[in-house]
Amino acid sequence: MRSPLLIPRARWKAVAFPLFLAASFTILSGCNDNEASQAASMRNIKSNGYITVTQNNINVGTIEMSKGTIDIPFLFRNDGNEPLALLEGETSCMCTTASIKSKAGRSQRMTMRGHGVIARMYHVLDPGEEATLIATFDPNAHGPSGTGQISRDVIVQTNSSRTPSMQFRFMGNVVP
């Protein structure tokens, strides 16, 4: 039964144990500290991972200027079978900023291009991993006349071949 290709039990242990230690070290450091470098290396590689937003096109209803900024959270998940990198993001309006929160931490704040630096991200979502995009809307950004219906988009670029550009949208009605 014993294959000549298998090494003796004693030597097997001698080989396996250091390998196990090395692997554990690699895994631990890879999962926690090196997500940024992982994301950077994935930038130009297309992934089979893809994003599903639990609830998009969120209607927040009435937004009162007197109450100041509001936060709108979007839960999303990598529903593909490969890790997926979030690359950068922007918003459609100077009144809206956004950031992403995942187990890797919180991203730089996304703004409208032309109103700050383009937010670079260092987030990798493993298959099945969830993250939250929090959009912050300032109903006073356009002055007192900025009332009425609004719809705002946050656009996040990813390395996914199926969802290369994800649009998160909320709508509402701004009143004084």
Partner: protein, 172 residues
């Protein structure tokens, strides 16, 4: 050789299990794709995007008419046409649509309201209705602005800190 392969296999399993601790096992068989059938988008737009090209900041507002046909079986009311930015406004020529009726969604862009991205960018306009449509009709307008007047001419100046409602900083 085989033992080496075996070690690698073991390592791969370790690596996967270590990195995917949060993987919910229930969602691995998500449907491949679920596109909305074309017949269900009850407002059919002839075009869904328009490129204004390079426009001058001093040139005033530009507008474009997007033609559409309503193919639903019962009348609907258009409750609004919000846009993704204060620099963009939109309206339809009709408030109620009967089955088979055509209409126009006019989208107007102001290149001098505030700073826009330096290169090409787009803004969106959507049609909201009662009852709501299964798929939200959306158009995109693209533009690039020649800042011939400069940032000081913007109708809305960048500094609006007097509102006292700066976005909350979540980084702490």
């Amino acid at each position: 050789m085989r033992s080496l392969l075996f070690s690698f296999a073991l390592l791969s399993i370790l690596a996967l299990s270590a990195c995917s601790g949060a993987t919910p096992s229930t969602q691995t068989d998500a449907p491949e794709n679920m596109p909305m059938p074309e017949s269900m988008s009850a407002i059919a737009l002839k075009e869904t995007s328009h490129d204004f090209g390079l426009i001058q900041q001093s040139g005033g507002k530009v507008s474009y008419d997007f033609a559409f046909t309503y193919s639903g079986k019962t009348p609907i009311t258009i409750t609004g046409t919000p846009t993704s930015c204060a620099c963009t406004e939109a309206h339809t020529d009709k408030k109620t649509l009967l089955p088979g009726e055509s209409g126009v969604l006019t989208v107007i862009f102001n290149p001098n309201l505030h700073a826009e991205p330096k290169d090409r960018f787009y803004k969106t306009a959507i049609i909201l209705s009662d009852p709501p449509l299964p798929e939200q009709p959306e158009v995109r307008i693209w533009a690039e602005i020649d800042l011939d007047l400069g940032p000081k001419a913007f109708e809305l100046q960048e500094d609006h800190s007097h509102t006292g409602n700066e976005p909350k900083d979540h980084s702490h």
